[in-house]
């Protein structure tokens, strides 16, 4: 087994873990924002799919990854706009609409793929990496963490950006109030519907960006159902993180590392069914919940539409 775990291989595993973590991170950060503002966004899987499809279309036809990320984020936001109109503005049930949007976008993107790409299966060239000098020379870790596409660094920076917004800005206060006691926000003169709409649209854009990253960088192509439940993982991450962006990052990395661990164990010749290995991240989280499960502090108004003056 000597030499199996060469530096290059280990670094590739880690690289893969980071690549797998980024869509989860973006989806989780997005979901976290919605939840903070009191909207349970179950449609995030649909938003990711829209982002993946449109992001790929944008990147493929323009030849620019960045344009792809832009169209992906716009696609996610467009789906989120529907959700905001239906669930925030007129207060339809968030779960019904969320699931309906997910189903609809699964079908729609698969249809579009069928008519557009199912004969040619276009693929993008490799995403070019932004190499961070010095840091990228660290063995194993360097190439995995510091030779990534620029968007990866931006996504990680976003964690701290979000943290800043939540802790240090009026917007952060507004979001939290919208989730915990919307009536109080309203009488303070801030439009609850608008605040929640902003949150949901941001969620959509982030989820769309996550989808675009998944398609354009993670896979380099689009195929139906490509997100494979990443959106639902995003929901889990957001809930586990309880409003803290940092924890979304840790959670996303945990899932990414577990995926790479699967590969590592197989390459090492450890003969365990993949199903069992695949259970690891979930088991880890469940054990953490059993051991440290504290009173959940989800926003009090989560999932409840706000209507001014209603009793």
């Amino acid at each position: 087994m000597t030499g199996l775990f060469s530096e290059v291989f280990l670094s590739a595993l880690l690289f893969g873990a980071v690549t797998a973590a980024i869509p989860l991170l973006l989806a989780g950060l997005g979901e976290q924002m919605s939840e903070k503002a009191g909207v349970l966004n179950i449609g995030i899987e649909g938003m990711m799919l829209a982002g993946a499809y449109l992001g790929f279309v944008g990147a493929f036809y323009s030849g620019s990854l960045w344009l792809g990320f832009l169209t992906g984020a716009a696609g996610g936001a467009a789906v989120a706009l529907v959700m905001a109109l239906l669930c925030v503005r007129i207060g339809l049930n968030q779960i019904v609409i969320g699931i309906a949007l997910t189903l609809g976008l699964e079908g729609l993107t698969a249809l579009l793929h069928h008519f557009q790409f199912s004969r040619s299966y276009p693929r993008l060239p490799a995403a070019d990496a932004t190499v961070i000098p010095l840091l990228s020379d660290i063995p194993v870790i360097g190439p995995a963490f510091f030779k990534q596409h620029l968007i990866v660094y931006l996504a990680v920076a976003l964690v701290f950006g979000m943290r800043y917004v939540y802790r240090r800005t009026q917007l952060g206060l507004n979001l939290q109030a919208a989730g915990d006691k919307p009536a109080a926000l309203d009488v303070a003169g801030i439009d609850v519907v608008r605040t929640r709409t902003i949150a949901v649209l941001t969620t959509g854009a982030l989820a769309g960006l996550g989808g675009a990253y998944l398609a354009n960088v993670g896979a380099g192509l689009f195929i139906p159902f490509i997100t494979n439940g990443a959106g639902f993982l995003g929901i889990v991450l957001a809930m586990l993180a309880r409003g803290r962006p940092i924890w979304v990052l840790f959670g996303a990395l945990l899932f990414g590392v577990c995926l790479s661990l699967t590969t590592a164990m197989q390459v090492a010749g450890i003969n365990i069914p993949t199903d069992v290995i695949q259970m690891l991240p979930f088991l880890a989280v469940m054990i953490m919940l059993v051991l440290f499960g504290r009173r959940a502090s989800l926003p009090a108004a989560l999932g409840i539409p706000y209507e001014r003056g209603a009793r």
């Binding site: 240090r168 006691k181 003169g189």
Partner: protein, 522 residues
């Protein structure tokens, strides 16, 4: 404070209502109301529970739009379209129900509403708050989470918030209900100072003495209509007693005397009878947002009313919950008719006759989305004859509920109305009816008349006295000293989770309780 100078033209209405009507399903909450709100005046709004006061306030603060009629601001018809609009017009409101975000700090709550891209201006705020609090004579913990504050403290924060915003019209909807007598007096003085600076104030209360003491003008609502007004000229001409009797006449017709007159209890408690409730060394651990209890001991005999006085947030709620079984005690014993019940569950204690009327009507007292009828029997689910073999007997439930609605004078459009839509006072009546149902032996009342109008307050107090007269033991927790003095046989004072003394309700009780409350020996 630039807005003040322009609007302090005496006699011009800041806000005027013309024929304002508001309907809700099954009810006309406001019916063609005319009202003038002037700078330099404290305009007191009075009326029974459900008369439509809060609804009126809702329209002034942009939460609701009138169905008919119009609102004039500075003489111009101005539809107040949103709370933000109301704020920009200089209308600041302290609502009847708490409007603070429990998970944010006091400072953050006060800052809520600033431009979204900004960093919260904490230093600026601290300076302004220091300014205001020094004139108000209160202290607020700016960095405490709101959920850690008592209801009284929260109410102070709300008043503070309305002040911080430089309103020229300040609306206070039952803002004294959670304040101590001293706090109420301070608020009264403050209101006086503010109107002297040219502000207009709308002040809603159920306590006629407050109305007489702090008001300049009084309007009385009844069943959604305005039934009378005492303008400032007349107001100044009358003495307190005359004002009160005039209000009573407007509200209830001629018959009644001053309902708030203190009556000494004239019950005879059989001293030799064995105590119904015995509490010894009860202790509760403190939590993140609530003080604990330490070595609480008292007895209550049949027919006796024991009062618990104290400033809100000193462990009253913990005591009530520990007795009812909702909160785990860390030590001590509770005996009902001599039988230890401290290990029993909430339901088992209730079964044995221990009743607890909560002060948190909407939070735990009721299920807001359920009909009024079911809420009457929330604590009897499954019991015959309302349920037979676990199956609901709709007709029987409705019959009994209708009977209670009549008996307790609950104003509701129908038995099926979700209870959250009733006015605060009417919800309270449902709770009272529920706790006094058959089988009660010991009843804990936590602020039983908070938010009730005069007539209902009187009726409820009479019910509590009758309860005791029937031989039940009553524990009456209240922040209203008058209430305790008018009803109790003995009054214990709670401070920091401990009973600091108990006095018999004799002539000097007021001073002795007062001394205990401020930390002196009785």
């Amino acid at each position: 404070m630039s807005s003040l100078s322009s609007s302090s033209v005496v006699g011009r209405d800041i806000v005027a209502l013309e024929g304002v009507t508001k309907r809700f399903p099954g009810i006309v909450a406001n019916d063609g109301i005319d009202l003038a709100i002037r700078p330099g005046e404290v305009h007191v709004l009075l009326g029974e529970n459900g008369a439509g006061k809060s609804t009126l306030i809702g329209m002034l603060s942009g939460l609701q739009q009138p169905d008919e009629g119009r609102i004039l601001v500075d003489g111009k018809p101005t539809p107040i379209t949103s709370p933000r609009h109301a704020l920009s017009l200089g209308i600041g409101t302290v609502f009847q129900h708490m409007m603070l975000v429990p998970t944010l700090t006091v400072a953050e709550n006060l800052l809520l509403g600033g431009p979204w891209w900004q960093r919260p201006r904490t230093e600026e705020l601290a300076a302004r708050v220091a300014d205001i609090t020094s004139t108000l004579g209160i202290t607020v913990k700016l960095h405490a989470k709101v959920s850690e504050l008592s209801l009284g403290e929260q109410q102070q924060v709300e008043i503070l918030r309305a002040m911080v915003r430089n309103s020229r019209l300040l609306i206070l909807d039952e803002s004294t209900s959670m304040l101590t007598p001293k706090g109420i007096d301070e608020l009264g003085a403050l209101m006086r100072r503010l109107v002297e600076q040219g502000l207009a104030i709308v002040f809603i209360t159920h306590k006629l003495k407050e109305a007489a003491a702090f008001g300049d003008r009084i309007s009385v609502l009844k069943l959604g209509r305005k039934v009378g007004e005492i303008p400032p000229e007349r107001f100044r001409a009358l003495g307190e007693q005359e004002i009160i009797s005039e209000i009573v006449e407007l509200m209830f017709g001629k018959q009644k005397d001053d309902p708030e007159a203190v009556e000494r209890p004239v019950r005879t408690v059989r001293a030799e009878a064995a105590p119904l409730l015995q509490v010894a060394d009860l202790a509760v651990a403190p939590t993140d947002n609530a003080p604990g209890l330490s070595s609480i001991s008292f007895d209550i005999r049949p027919g006796e009313i024991l009062g618990i006085a104290g400033i809100d947030g000193n462990g009253q709620k913990q005591l009530a919950e520990a007795l009812a079984g909702q909160r785990a005690a860390t030590g001590g014993s509770v005996r009902l008719e001599g039988v230890a019940i401290e290990a029993l569950s909430v339901g088992e204690r209730r079964q044995r006759g221990l009743r607890y009327l909560t002060d948190d009507r909407l939070g735990e007292g009721t299920v807001g989305t359920f009909p009024v009828s079911i809420n009457f029997f929330l604590k009897q689910v499954g019991a015959a004859p309302l349920w037979r073999n676990g199956v609901e007997q709709r007709a029987e439930i409705d019959r009994r509920a209708a009977q209670l609605v009549r008996e307790y004078d609950v104003r509701t459009p129908s038995l099926k109305t979700p209870i959250a839509r009733l006015s605060g006072g009417n919800i309270q009546k449902v709770l009272l009816a529920r706790e006094l149902a058959e089988g009660a032996k010991v009843v804990i009342f936590n602020k039983p008349t908070y938010g009730l109008d005069l007539a209902n307050t009187v009726a409820s107090r009479q019910r509590i006295r009758d309860t005791a007269a029937r031989g039940l033991a009553v524990l009456l927790i209240s922040t209203d000293l008058e209430e305790l003095l008018s009803m109790c046989d003995r009054i214990a004072v709670i401070a920091n989770g401990a009973l600091v003394g108990t006095v018999a309700n004799a002539d000097d009780a007021r001073t002795r309780v007062g001394r205990l409350m401020i930390g002196l020996a009785a």
